[in-house]
Symmetry: C2
Subunit: 233 residues, 2 copies
């Protein structure tokens, strides 16, 4: 047998979800309907649906049906949580200062990271996220204008870039790099720290189905920030 029938059914379903034809939370055909469609037994159709459920692609509930799950809702995507939510969850005051929101030309490393040509236009934003008025994260972000054309029209004091990007280009993957660094003078001023203070820097690249969405550098004062949880590589 070239490829098993249940695998074909899985591919069929995945293709429809990735193309956007079947949207998040929408209902997918029942086991019996899939069985009829593919001219197979219910158990074979069931296997496809069950395995995709195990993979987190679908969600099922007895009596109701099978539905398309949120893309990467709680898994690796939320790896590094939205800083605004994290602060609010602690019951502390959250505020943002927007320092930049412009278009600029991609330098070589940025172009490579975003999969663009060197010198091509990219959107650029710099924000400082504060907890109780104290700077906790400096977010410097380069965004692919082809995938997010309206980035510059947003008001990031109302919604963090991460939230906005999640909406317009559902994220499918993220890669991070962690480093201890000294902030440059400019950033030291914005973070209100001394030159001697070490910072935790997170480089974050995020993907959607269509390519690299953004490249972000998140800098945190070591004295105010700690990252905890499970790490998987």
């Amino acid at each position: 047998m070239a490829t098993p029938k249940f695998a074909e059914i899985k591919q069929y379903i995945l293709a429809r979800i990735e193309s956007g034809e079947w949207e998040e939370h929408s209902r997918v055909p029942s086991e019996n309907q899939m069985a009829e469609l593919f001219e197979c037994s219910r158990m074979t159709a069931r296997r496809a649906l069950t395995e995709l459920t195990d993979d987190g692609v679908l969600e099922r509930s007895q009596g109701l049906g099978t539905f398309v799950a949120e893309l990467k809702s709680q898994s690796s995507m939320m790896a590094i949580r939205n800083i605004a939510d994290e602060i609010k969850d602690r019951g502390h005051g959250y505020s943002v200062k927007q320092l930049e929101l412009t278009q600029t030309e991609a330098t070589a490393p940025i172009a490579i990271a975003l999969g663009l040509e060197t010198g091509s236009p990219v959107f650029y934003s710099v924000l400082v996220h504060c907890e109780q008025g104290v700077p906790l994260q400096l977010e410097e972000r380069f965004v692919n204008p082809k995938l997010v054309p309206d980035y510059l029209q947003q008001d990031f004091t109302l919604q963090t870039p991460h939230e906005y990007l999640s909406q317009v280009a559902p994220l499918t993957e993220a890669r991070h790099t962690l480093e201890a660094v000294v902030a440059n003078e400019h950033n030291q001023k914005h973070l209100e720290i001394e030159a001697s203070e070490p910072c935790l820097q997170i480089i974050r690249r995020t993907w959607s189905r269509k390519g690299v969405v953004s490249y972000a550098r998140l800098i945190h004062p070591g004295s105010r920030f700690r990252l905890g949880g499970h790490l998987t590589f």
Copy 2:
């Protein structure tokens, strides 16, 4: 049906693996044998074996049989890889200096982290891991003597503590905290860095089935160390 039959079979298998009765890489009964043992059909026994395989507990191969997989081999356990392997994989020279290997009394925070009484004896080791002769990680580790009684008799120039601990107390979980810090003077000397150099500090607690095995503080010079990969929380 109280608990489904396939779930009972899974529990039976898991219990045998966790008790150590079925060792890593050893063969487990075939589908037909399990079916006979539990007086069920092959398909039901098969389901238990298949699901445990999906969970990474078992490994199967057609024609050969089903085997107990390595405990957490590649998953969250190897989150932060063995630094010795990482250096060797880069094709660079690896060396260690052992600075401490003694018994000491648990301070309050260490006792809490290890689940012991304050002042009770704990094993303590300090190592410096070097790449091409350059210090890359200072490993300060507190070990629960109840779970690893022979820790002080080891020679950690031959085998890293992590490797040894994995052998004597198979790890089931690990939790990490990441922070950017300034090393104290003592550690600065051992890492051969300037006072101004930021360091990436990883606090790592590891569990086995019987409790907290060890509490480690891993300090890396920011200029020489970068942590990459997927982070999940």
